[in-house]
Symmetry: C2
Subunit: 107 residues, 2 copies
Amino acid sequence: MSETSELIGKWVPSGEGVERRVRAEDPALMVVEFRFQTGGVGTLHSHPHVQSTYVERGVFDFTMDGKTTRISAGDCFVIPSNTEHGCTCIEAGLLVDCFTPRRDDFL
Amino acid sequence: MSETSELIGKWVPSGEGVERRVRAEDPALMVVEFRFQTGGVGTLHSHPHVQSTYVERGVFDFTMDGKTTRISAGDCFVIPSNTEHGCTCIEAGLLVDCFTPRRDDFL
């Protein structure tokens, strides 16, 4: 539970209708919450980090590698390294994402 | 969303009053749910994998490196490599754990 950045634990804007909050981190692993308003957009992007996404609440249309799937509470998946992904929020909610290694750009 | 094992997506016993279910995995990252009955025990143990724990629901007394903290829905932390940890479930619930690298012993 190191505190290497003042950003840990604070909500910050993360795109249209989206905020993120770093919850916990280690050089090898980071947990980040993404809070979406209905209609919020996670723009398509990719990164070398492997990511997991767990839907804590809400409904989303999630696109990975060109395929879009509707996901809701309890859904969970892994996004391989450098795989394009993004989402649109259908009903306001919260995604809990983990990244390995740590997203140093979030600190 | 590879399916390298028949165990992915299936609840299996994981100690006294505890079941686990692998939800998603990649060689670098694995997401596992742990469902606890009240009184269920996650025995103290350690592993080289770095772990994150997110409390989806329930109340737990969680011990890490000799210190015990009461945790509940929304709490989140990272357990460094080779750090002893375990918990006792106070109110039935669900922990969502991530591991890097993958816990191949769960497949």
